[in-house]
Amino acid sequence: MSTETVAIIDYGSGNLHSAAKAFERAARESGRDARICLTSDPEVVAAADRVVLPGVGAYADCRRGLDAVPGMVEAMTEVAQRAGRPFLGICVGMQLLASRGLEYETTPGLGWIPGDVAPIQPSDPTLKIPHMGWNTLRVARDHALLAGIPTGEDGLHAYFVHSFALAAERPEDVVAQAEYGGPVTAMVARGNIAGTQFHPEKSQRLGLALIANFLAWRP
C-alpha cells in the first residue's frame, strides 16, 4: 500500500494540531500508511489524496479566512468536484459545504451540499443553545464513514458544539441527525464529499473510528 497524503487545510481557523494528531492516531491504530499534513498551500491541497476542511468560529469569519488564501477555494474545487477525491468538512468546515450561512449576515458557502445554515430552534424552549456536548446519532442512510460504528440511542456519542445547523435541500444528502428538540443535521454526504457537524477529533471512540473509515474510504 503506497503512502497517501491527507491535507488538513489550515486557514487560520483555530489550532489544528489536535486534529492532525487525531488523524495520525487513527491511521496508526488502523494500520494505514498516511502522511497527515497541515497546510495552507493550495498546491498541496490540489495534489492530496484526501482533504479535510476544519472550521471553528463564526461562518462569515471562516469564509473570509478561506477566501484570504489565494487559490484555496479553486484547489478545493479541483480536488472535490473535478478529481473526485475524498473530502471531509468538520463543524463550520461542514457548514461551508452548504449554499449559504445565515449567522450574523448572509454569507455564500461552497454550494456543494445545497441548503442553508440556520439557527437551531429546539421545539422545547428550555433546551440550551449552543447544542453543546455529547449526543448520539440517528442514521438516515448507510454510509462508509459510519461503517462498524454503533449508532442510535444505545450507540456511541459524538461531541457537538454549535448554534447553527445545515438544513439540506435534498433529504438524500443527510446521512445522520442528532435529536435536540427536533432533528439536527449531524452528518451530510454526496458522492466523494462528506461533512460532520460534530468534531470527530474530539469524539474519542466514535471519532477515531470515523476518521479511520475516512482514511479507507473509496467513494
Partner: protein, 267 residues
C-alpha cells in the same frame, strides 16, 4: 439525546497539578498532561484546567501543558485562569484549548466577552462566575460576584451579571459558589438554578462536591447541563465511571461509551 457532562477540573500552578492527583499507577501525580491522559481514558466528557499561577512570566509553561494535552487527548479541553485580553484567549486556543474561561477580566470589562466571542465564536468562550450569597437568612436569596479567589466583593449581582455576559456572547457559564467551594457539602443549588433559569446558554455547576449525590442534584435541582468536580475524582473517592453509573441510575442521561479507544492510555 444530549447527555449530561462530567468535567474533572485540575488546578494548575507553575505547570504542576496543585495537591496532585492520586491514581493508582500514575507515574507523576503532579504532571497535568499525565492526569489528563488518565481522565481521557476514563471517559471524562470534558476536562478543565484552571491556572492559578500568580506570575505572568509562567504563561509559557501553561501554553506548553495545553499543547501537550491537546496532542495526547481527543476530548474537549477548557482552560481558564489569568485570561485578561483577546490575545490571551487567542494564545490558549492556538495552543489547543477548545474553550477558554474568562473570570476577573469579564467582571472588569464585560465587553471583553463580546470581543472574544466575535473573534473566535461564542462556542469557545466560557465565563467563570464566582459568587457568594449576600442575603440574610430571611431575605430572598441574592448572590454577589467576588473576584481574586473569593476575597474581593464587587457589588455586582451574580444573576444580572450572568444575563449580561450571556448577552455579550458567552457560550457557557461556569458557576462556582465561593461559599461551598472546598466544603464538600454540595453545590449551592439555588445559585445554580437561579442562573440556569436566567440564561439560555449551558451552565456548569461547580464548588462543593462531596459525593456522587451532589452531582445528581446539580443537574436535577440546579438545572446544570454539566457538573464540574475536582477532589472526589483526584483522590480516588470515585471514578468517572462510578459517577456516571450513579447519575444514570438516578435517571439522568449519561454517556457510557467506555474507554477512549481500543488502545489503553499509558498508565
Amino acid at each position: 439525546m444530549l447527555k449530561t457532562r462530567i468535567i474533572p477540573c485540575l488546578d494548575v500552578k507553575d505547570g504542576r497539578v496543585v495537591k496532585g492527583v492520586r491514581f493508582e499507577g500514575l507515574r507523576d501525580a503532579g504532571d497535568p498532561v499525565e492526569a489528563a491522559k488518565v481522565y481521557d481514558a476514563a471517559g471524562a466528557d470534558e476536562l478543565c484546567f484552571l491556572d492559578i499561577t500568580a506570575s505572568r512570566e509562567a504563561r509559557g509553561t501553561l501554553l506548553d501543558i495545553v499543547s501537550r494535552t491537546a496532542e495526547a487527548c481527543f476530548m474537549p479541553l477548557t482552560v481558564g485562569g489569568g485570561v485578561r485580553t483577546v490575545e490571551d484567549v487567542r494564545a490558549l486556543l492556538l495552543a489547543g484549548a477548545d474553550k477558554v474561561a474568562i473570570n476577573t477580566a469579564a467582571v472588569k470589562d464585560p465587553d471583553l466577552v463580546a470581543r472574544a466571542a466575535e473573534k473566535f465564536g461564542a462556542q469557545c468562550i466560557v465565563v467563570a462566575i464566582d459568587a457568594k450569597r449576600v442575603s440574610g437568612p430571611d431575605e430572598p436569596a441574592r448572590w454577589e460576584i467576588f473576584t481574586h479567589g473569593g476575597r474581593d466583593p464587587t457589588g455586582i449581582d451574580a444573576v444580572a451579571f450572568a444575563r449580561l455576559v450571556a448577552e455579550k456572547g458567552a457560550g457557557e457559564l461556569l458557576v462556582t459558589s465561593m461559599d461551598k467551594d472546598g466544603t464538600r457539602s454540595g453545590y449551592d443549588l439555588a445559585l445554580t438554578r437561579a442562573i440556569s433559569d436566567a440564561v439560555t446558554v449551558p451552565v456548569i455547576a461547580s464548588g462543593g462536591v462531596g459525593g456522587l449525590d451532589d452531582l445528581v442534584a446539580g443537574v436535577a435541582q440546579g438545572g446544570a447541563s454539566a457538573v464540574l468536580a475536582a477532589s472526589i475524582f483526584h483522590f480516588g473517592q470515585a471514578s468517572v465511571a462510578e459517577a456516571k453509573a450513579h447519575m444514570a441510575a438516578a435517571g439522568l442521561a449519561m454517556r457510557l461509551d467506555g474507554p477512549a479507544s481500543s488502545a489503553r492510555a499509558p498508565l
